[in-house]
């Protein structure tokens, strides 16, 4: 872009923040959906579902916004990445449909409650897996020619993308466990602590594998992390991750109600940061930078005006809806 006042950094921040909000917010409620399948009785299932019922659709709106922000600000990236992820996107969307209608249908269609229960649990797990696969395929990069993706619709499938898929299921389960520890008491909370411990082990194996794999496969990424003085500046990211993982583990075994959730959020933040450091400044890894994929200045400016005005308002009233439903949930009287 030839303009002096390039909006690319602004849109990079907005997009990064939007996707991060989505991953955290829908992450914990997809995680709760996964754990829902392990709840043994009707009462605890009602309780677990009630803990996210009032907020899940607001969370999912970030997915639409993230997709549309990518389309509007970096259309070239959208036009390459989304078709390349044809089947993971399909799987995610269909899984989200089942999981989304389950909130409503499970209560109103009691004859088929078992069916919608399964839809909710498997839908959540498959959506999480699909998103993890997308992440892996994204890091791997896509075959392009000119402005187009020219690979096959099965290119997304690799041991690495399966690994990231499974890792994200554990990651969302960890977030979900943290949320349930925060929002519930008694037996449900105890189960959440146990699932949290298992998830944390899975997450750490996943993060470890990705951290070893990516620099081994890509010389660029190895150079980014291990050259001097980057090593010095960037070493806090993995070191902090280890410390946070340890604190989260302690919190899961302790009595803290909020510790595990906060720990999981920080762990996600550091992982997100790590991936961003590895891939910077590419939006289509190894192919197109943020600047190359950006839409016209007029497009970015037209949308930035409204976004910068509306985003803070959205954050305020989204925050308010969380505030309304603060505190522990109870199954017998709904969620407030």
């Amino acid at each position: 872009m030839d303009s002096v006042l390039s909006l690319v950094p602004v849109w990079t921040l907005i997009l990064a923040a939007g996707i991060f909000f989505y991953v955290l917010l829908d992450g914990f409620d997809l995680g709760v959906g996964i754990l829902y399948g392990f709840e043994p009785d009707l009462e605890s299932r009602n309780l677990v579902m009630n803990s996210i019922a009032p907020i899940w659709d607001g969370n999912e709106t970030w997915l639409v916004l993230g997709g549309l922000a990518l389309l509007a600000a970096f259309p070239l990236a959208f036009a390459i990445i989304i078709p390349a992820l044809y089947f993971p996107v399909l799987l995610m969307l269909l899984a989200l449909v089942f999981r989304g209608v389950a909130f409503e249908f499970r209560f109103r269609d009691s004859e088929h409650k078992g069916f919608w229960d399964h839809g909710f649990c498997y839908g959540s797990a498959l959506a999480a897996f699909a998103q993890g696969v997308m992440l892996g395929a994204f890091i791997d990069g896509f075959e392009t020619e000119g402005r187009e993706f020219v690979g096959s619709s099965l290119d997304f499938l690799s041991p690495f993308s399966i690994l990231t898929g499974v890792a994200l299921v554990f990651g969302y389960s960890l977030l979900g466990s943290g949320w349930l520890i925060l929002k519930t008491e008694g037996a449900v909370q105890e189960r959440a602590r146990r699932s949290g411990r298992m998830s944390l082990i899975g997450v750490l194996i996943g993060i470890g594998a990705v951290s070893l794999w990516t620099p081994l496969v890509s010389a660029e990424i190895a150079e980014r992390w291990f050259s001097w003085p980057n090593l010095l500046f960037l070493s806090p990211v993995p070191l902090l991750s280890l410390v946070v993982a340890w604190l989260t583990w302690r919190s899961l075994n302790g009595t803290s109600h909020a510790g595990a959730f906060i720990g999981a959020i920080v762990l996600f933040t550091l992982s997100y940061l790590g991936i961003a450091i590895s891939l910077w400044p590419y939006i289509v890894p190894h192919r197109f930078t943020l600047w190359e994929a950006a839409s016209s200045n007029s497009t970015q400016a037209f949308l930035a005006v409204g976004t910068l005005f509306l985003l803070p308002i959205i954050l305020v009233y989204s925050g308010w809806s969380y505030w309304v439903f603060r505190g522990k949930v109870r199954a017998d009287i709904g969620y407030h």
């Binding site: 009707l42 009602n46 019922a53 659709d57 709106t61 997915l63 639409v64 916004l65 997709g67 549309l68 389309l71 509007a72 259309p75 070239l76 959208f78 036009a79 990445i81 989304i82 078709p83 044809y86 089947f87 996107v89 969307l93 269909l94 989200l96 449909v97 089942f98 989304g100 209608v101 909130f103 409503e104 249908f105 209560f107 109103r108 009691s110 088929h112 409650k113 187009e148 993706f149 020219v150 096959s152 839409s295 016209s296 007029s298 497009t299 037209f302 949308l303 409204g306 976004t307 509306l310 959205i314 989204s318 308010w320 809806s321 309304v324 199954a331 017998d332 009287i333 709904g334 969620y335």
Partner: protein, 465 residues
Amino acid sequence: MELDPVFLSRLQFAWLIAFHILMPALTVGLASFIAVLEGLHFFTRREIYLRISTFWIKIFSVAFGMGVVSGVIMPFQFGTNWSRYSDATANVLAPLFAYEGLTAFFLEAAFLGVLLFGRKLVPPGAHFVAALMVAFGTLLSSFWILAANSWMQTPAGYEIIDGRFFPTDWLAVIFNPSFPLRLAHTVVGFYITTGFAVVAVSAYLLIRQKSPAEARTALSITLWLLSVLVPLQVFIGDQHGLNTLEHQPAKLAAIEAHWETGGNVPLILFTIPNDEAERNDFTIQIPYLGSVILTHSLGGEVKGLKDFPPDQRPPVALPFFAFRVMVGIGLLMLGMVVVSWWLRWRGRLFDTPLFLRACIAIGPLGFIAVLAGWTTTEVGRQPWIVYGQMRTADAVSPSLTGWDVLLSLIFYVIVYLIIFPAGAWIMARIIRKGPATDDAEEDEPIEAGRPSKPITVELHAKGEA
């Protein structure tokens, strides 16, 4: 067998949008209807409006939820199946889609919560405002999505550089030539569709003598609203037709199955268009009426399809018949409204069984009219995805094989055939129960669209009923 990814992608988009559009067709109208009822309750303090509103809010919440899940799928279609279209048009269209999300979706999500479960938590005035905000949100959503759709029909305010569209004038992009009329026509169409759905449900309740007082009030209000909306729609539709004649003559020629350019064109009531032979078979027509309707003059000239090269003509049969289905239903609705005036004047509006049965029968037709209208305008735009500028065949993702799209289409078909009938069945169950009838009977608390009582209580209550 060679599977065509373009055709299958179009089929997939048609399948997804056809089901999705049924939900806004109901929720855009219901949101405004609920706001009217909440307003009536707020200003008159009559409890009956509240009971009718509470009843329709339940149906609204189911339809809205299904609209959300089927709506999340839509923007991803641009990427998965139409990536060349996305790359070419994003600079112009993507901000419109994004503004829909920013202005409408979050507004709806926030105030929907208050509307559904906040009646006892917030003052009545605030609840009324929440109803207004949800209705406003659905209208904002219609505004942006129809601005984008209209731009694809009548593009304006852009320049083309290296095969991609770039904005030159945002106001011209948004308020492109077909947008104001398309917005009015669609929103009024949604209102009418909802109106006749409410009429049908009220008539059904009246026949079964279930909540008769509430059913009478709802029927009466809705028929008054329709008395304004249906004639208004006839006028808007006519104006929209003139607009199409001016800006998309090939589409209009297909709608009317006119092959030859000329004056004194007839109105063709029925025909079997033959695209290959460039003529119609088995035609029933009324002389001169075509010119009168299309140009508002007896000898007005209308362009025929032969004026356009064969590779720039839409298929004829689909727009031709879809348009006649839509207009036919519209005329039927106009007839129903006129009958309702007469019955009201005679004081027989609520106890004429034949009329009530007709009300039930006409209930689903609005949805069919919406689908028919959508088919008319979208098929009529072919072979273009951006009218006159970009072909649909050049818009599809280059990486897709026919088998990829067939597989995804099969999955979308299976899932929608589970989800949508289930949703319809759940709405039917709410309708069978009808609105609460008196103030003493506490309505079950609805929290974020879901009853807070455990499921067993509901089963128990049903057993008693």
